[in-house]
């Protein structure tokens, strides 16, 4: 069976992109101009403005003269670009092969189209009409009312979609666009009765065709190709190829990694966090809708701010687990901005997300079910937004003797279980042993070793004190006999030590050397006391508990 190509078409991208970013403008008479000022050319009109009698071509002043309530906005290339890619996201949510059509020119300049491979999708959507309706509905959910057509080639699918544009104005706001399915193998029959103008012939060729009495595509198809080429040139042959179904190759598959971006220009400079967060909320909402449409989550957020004076502030915000929760992403962005406020007023903002698949829920026969991965991802993101970056994760024992050292790794219990259950092959065991030897050798090279390791191999549980609490110690013969601190106080009843812990001797900033004592004071507290010879200071750095 021949391949099938679908075309997802938005006829008036400038006003659709504007309404997508400003939903409050929906249903209002709206004109999008090429620039500012009354003489600016109007590029696109909303259906409501057309119903009120505004006609293209016209200037902003002329449009206002026709409709006093008309809202005039300058076109935003950033919004249009984001809307164009959102259209591609809607297509990629239904088919793995989709690509943006090159921008059209002339009268079709306001058009945005995406071609996608519609072959074999009836199993998912029931029929090609069902697929087209689902695609149209998904585009509408992203704020993009679009026409969908399915045919045997790109050109025919696009023409089939354009055929519905005259009825576009009568479409009630908020309703999904119309769909058209050309019968498989019936592309030529479908085109034959249509006007020749739908094939977008160059002006000279269109004039020649009119002169020869060729008004419909069928008239062109009846002529012999060689004679047509001799009389009307290569453009006519190209037109004939389009009518005969050229362009049947499917679009290339989408790359596995996805980077989605939304951006906007601000009407005025912003110097406070609150209005900026309001802007970011809108951007993140649109970004999250696109991610959700494709079944992805935001794994890393990139926040871009265009500063007054031409500077640019770009910061990356880590997300604990892929998430599409706008509240969480906004909170993370707010934390990042609060921690490091921008250096100047902000004139434009953008958010970009690295899309990663949301975690699937794979149950295990032999292990208790943990939190559902999607819910866990959302919880991790919420916790990180609540507590701040670097404060949520799985604890890791650091290869150092520095007291209180710790590290956090991403919390992924399912992945760790899979690693733990991987068969320990001989090669794996050998490489593990080698890596341990190498790690040990590296530690020795760097001097990160216990200079006087405790003579015992036992580890009583400690509660770390971060930072260590200063202590007043009365010592006799170098051993503490009385202790006063916020956590332990009184006579030292029992004492052991000292053991020297030292390391990082090569770095002035990181060097440490302590004499540790285990003491039990008369108030019943067992504490780990340390003396820093360089500062001549006593501290309690842990409690045995």
């Amino acid at each position: 069976m021949a391949g099938r190509i679908a075309c997802l078409l938005v006829p008036d991208l400038p006003w659709v992109a504007l309404v997508r970013a400003h939903p409050e403008l929906a249903g209002r008479p709206l004109a999008v101009t090429a620039g500012a000022g009354p003489r600016a050319e109007v590029l696109a009109l909303s259906p409501e403005a057309a119903r009120r009698g505004v006609r293209l071509p016209c200037s902003a002043a002329g449009a206002r003269a026709a409709c006093a309530e008309l809202a005039v906005h300058a076109a935003s290339p950033a919004l249009e670009e984001a809307a164009r890619h959102a259209l591609l996201d809607a297509a990629l949510s239904t088919s793995p092969r989709a690509e943006l059509a090159p921008p059209a020119a002339g009268l079709r300049a306001a058009e945005a189209a995406v071609f996608l491979d519609a072959s074999g999708l009836t199993a998912c959507f029931g029929s090609e009409a069902g697929f087209a309706a689902a695609l149209s509905a998904r585009a509408l959910r992203l704020g993009l009312p679009a026409v969908v057509a399915v045919a045997g080639s790109r050109a025919v699918a696009r023409i089939a979609a354009r055929r519905h544009l005259p009825g576009w104005l009568a479409r009630p706001p908020g309703e999904a666009g119309p769909v058209e399915v050309v019968t498989p193998g019936g592309d030529t029959a479908f085109l034959a009765p249509l006007p020749l103008e739908l094939l977008d012939p160059p002006d000279a060729l269109a004039e020649a065709c009119t002169r020869f009495g060729l008004r419909r595509v069928g008239d062109l198809l009846r002529l012999p190709r060689r004679a047509l080429l001799a009389r009307l040139g290569a453009d006519a042959a190209r037109l004939l190829d389009v009518a005969l179904g050229a362009g049947q190759e499917p679009p290339p598959p989408a790359p596995p990694e996805a980077r989605l971006e939304e951006s906007t220009e601000l009407e005025g400079s912003v110097d406070r966090l609150e209005p900026l967060l309001f802007v970011l909320q809108g951007l993140l909402s649109r970004l999250a809708a696109r991610l959700e449409c494709r079944g992805l989550g935001c794994a890393e957020l990139e926040l871009g701010l265009r500063l007054a004076g031409g500077g640019r502030d770009v910061r990356r915000v880590g997300v604990a687990a892929p998430s599409v929760d706008v509240r969480v992403l906004l909170r993370l962005a707010a934390l990042a901005l609060e921690a490091h406020p921008p250096a100047a007023e902000i004139e434009g903002a953008s958010v970009a997300a690295e899309g990663r698949p949301l975690r699937g829920d794979q149950l295990d026969f032999f292990r208790p079910a943990g939190p559902p991965p999607a819910l866990l991802g959302r919880t991790l993101a919420e916790l990180e937004a609540l507590c701040g970056p670097g404060r949520v994760g799985a604890p890791v024992v650091v290869d150092t003797h520095r007291p209180g050292a710790f590290a956090l790794a991403p919390f992924a219990p399912a992945a760790s279980a899979a690693r733990a259950e991987a068969p320990a092959s001989a090669t794996g065991a050998a490489s593990r042993a080698r890596s341990e030897r190498e790690a040990r050798a590296e530690a020795l090279d760097h001097g990160a070793v216990h200079e006087a390791a405790p003579p015992y191999g036992h580890h009583l549980t400690v509660r770390a004190l971060r930072p260590p609490l200063p202590a007043q110690v009365e010592a006799r013969a170098g051993r503490p006999v009385r202790l006063a601190s916020a956590v332990a106080r009184g006579d030292v009843l029992q004492c052991a030590g000292p053991w020297r812990t030292s390391g990082a001797w090569w770095s002035d900033e990181e060097r440490f050397a302590f004499d540790h004592y285990d003491v039990v004071t008369s108030d019943g507290t067992a504490a780990r006391l340390r003396y820093d010879p360089s500062r001549r200071a006593w501290e309690v750095d842990a409690i045995y508990d």
């Binding site: 295990d364 032999f366 943990g370 939190p371 559902p372 819910l375 959302r378 919880t379 919420e382 916790l383 609540l386 507590c387 701040g388 404060r391 949520v392 994760g393 799985a394 604890p395 890791v396 024992v397 209180g404 710790f406 919390f411 992924a412 219990p413 760790s416 279980a417 733990a420 405790p454 015992y456 036992h458 580890h459 009583l460 549980t461 400690v462 509660r463 770390a464 971060r466 006799r476 013969a477 051993r479 006999v481 916020a486 956590v487 006579d491 030292v492 009843l493 029992q494 004492c495 052991a496 285990d518 039990v520 019943g524 507290t525 067992a526 504490a527 842990a542 409690i543 045995y544 508990d545």
Partner: protein, 267 residues
Amino acid sequence: MAPPPSAPLAEREPRLAAALRDLGARVRRGAPPETAAPRCPTGLDAVDRLLGGGFPRGGLSEIAGPPSSGRTSLVLALLAAATARGEVAALVDAADAFDPPSAAAAGVALPRLLWVRPPGLGEALRSASHLLAARGFAVVVLDLAASGARAAAPRARESRARGGDAAGASPESLGSRTWLRLRQATAGTDTALVVVADARLAEGSADLALDLAPASARFEGPAGPSDAPGAEGAFLAALESELRLVRDRRGGALRCTGARWPQRGAA
């Protein structure tokens, strides 16, 4: 004249007897079958015996005690047992006192433990709520023990007497509504919520409350310098704690109310 109570049911309640006969095997007489409340064991025999199997799932438990009373060791034993079963656990560490090497030595599978380090008490409580809502965590430990806070219990009572419920700067300022909310969030889940503090905070809202007290410390090894006062030995080998079960809402009659629990160092 009414039939005597010792008469057969068919004589005393003929309609009920007829209905039971019609329903046949679908109806049984007697109280509903007792199902043991699921518990989360600690793996420590003495403690599990005391608790009737462990900390209750779907309930709020409290561990209260002063520093060096073994609260952290008990929590790590609970986390180690849960992670050894392949379950995941979470620790909301408001005191920022968690020591990963201690946990690893106690047998906690660190990759299965989610460590949350909230910057304040309010964030700690909200973190616990988020974790309970996520479901699937076997244990959520809310560590509110502030080392050094000695006389927390009287202050907590004073605060509650004033009707305080705001997430203030200290755990003692939390009122009963906070704990009721947490208990409600735990109910119906498979999660055992364990609050660790210097003194009991949840009081009546807790399903289980355990008081810990330090008993003794044992030093082992060669003796220290003879001229040093208090030099008992070379290293601190073990701490012993006393446990007292002060509340067990689900356990019925208390099996025993106290135990001694030696915490030995892990080799």
